[in-house]
Symmetry: C2
Subunit: 204 residues, 2 copies
DNA sequence: GTCTATAGAGGGATAGAC
DNA sequence: GTCTATCCCTCTATAGAC
């Protein structure tokens, strides 16, 4: 029982650290994030943090892999659903994907950026690619528009859905739009994106 | 005359430093870039670098503003051209923009990332927005598709053109495509992007 | 598991000679 | 303008008591 109490305390500490670390890493990037800041904001002793995770790098890897897993595990079932049509997949991806990104808006650009700066951080983990390449979604794209590499369409739709989040700081930091209307624009886009995509691949 | 010789030597040093700094900052990000590395790779003494630029931050600002200026000064004339149709602008943007990005492929994601992490680095400089909002291009988008906020279309086309470059490290680092075929895919996209955009806004 | 204290390395910046 | 030498702060990580 004492062990249980200890384990709970520890578990809570670990979770709190991971939660804060995720936020800090995504806000500042890996290099600019200080272990002291993570420990302070998590109200955990710095040494204790290293006791649990060993190093800043190890903590980073753990936290990021969890986030990426969440990202992929969410869309893969949609991509591989044998029962939904291509048009329905467009709808589902827009609806669900944007909703999820809104919960963690900095994740996409952060992941892309860190991969570019330090591929070793991710290297062997992201093996989901073949699952995407061989998905039902890709097959349906190929069928709808046989003349175009379906990867092109895959990237285009990802771009349409994600790019506004990439542009967000640029737009809001300079008053092109207010932070308030950003969410409204995203919701409007949630409606428009599948319609555009259907036009592009040539389905009704 | 002696002054000229000195000035030339200095000028060359400054240019070399800026060139190397641009590459390093874009590869590693601001925080992870070390002034020592910049100085070494530019084959310039570290102290001399500070003599010329005062600080790492100052060097960063100078280099980045030059890059962003290049980015904007390139597309603004196209956006504001009164003589070209919307369809022609789509063609010109695809053709020219992608060509330019190929020369400095890391710039877009880097700029977006740094803006997010440290808006103060850019804050007051990017005032080009109103020039874009009030451009002929935006007016033509509004005319072609009155029911949709033209900003939505602006972002969509930027996303279609830029997103492949964002995804490049993800794709190539995991063998989805080889680095070699990336360029071929980009060229194919250069052809397809304006066609897609015309479908989206509903012009022939 | 949790703390205090500190080691140890790294990196930005400058003093001062030439 | 250019160099050497070095200061000094910051940050990661660990030793060791509780």
């Amino acid at each position: 029982m004492q062990e249980n109490i200890k384990a709970e305390g520890s578990q809570k500490t670990v979770e709190k650290l991971k939660e804060v670390a995720r936020i800090e890493f995504m806000k500042n990037g890996y290099a600019a994030t200080k272990t002291r800041d993570i420990a302070n904001k998590a109200e955990v002793n710095l040494a204790l943090m290293n006791y649990h995770f060993g190093s800043k790098e190890k903590l980073f890897e753990i936290v990021m892999l969890e986030s990426i897993d969440k990202l992929f595990s969410f869309i893969l079932p949609t991509l591989n659903d044998e029962k939904t049509s291509l048009g329905e997949k467009f709808d589902l991806l827009s609806e669900g994907y944007i909703t999820m990104i809104l919960l963690e808006p900095n994740l996409p650009i952060f992941v892309l950026n860190e991969i570019q700066q330090n591929p070793a951080h991710f290297g062997n983990q992201i093996k989901m690619n073949s699952a995407i390449i061989n998905s039902k979604y890709i097959a349906q794209l190929k069928q709808a528009d046989p003349d175009t590499d379906p990867i092109q369409h895959l990237i285009t739709y990802l771009g349409i859905l994600l790019f506004p989040f990439f542009m967000r700081p640029v737009m809001t930091a300079n008053g092109v739009i207010e932070e308030a209307s950003f969410k409204a624009a995203i919701q409007e886009r949630q409606r428009l994106a599948p319609l555009w995509m259907k036009k592009i691949v040539g389905i009704v």
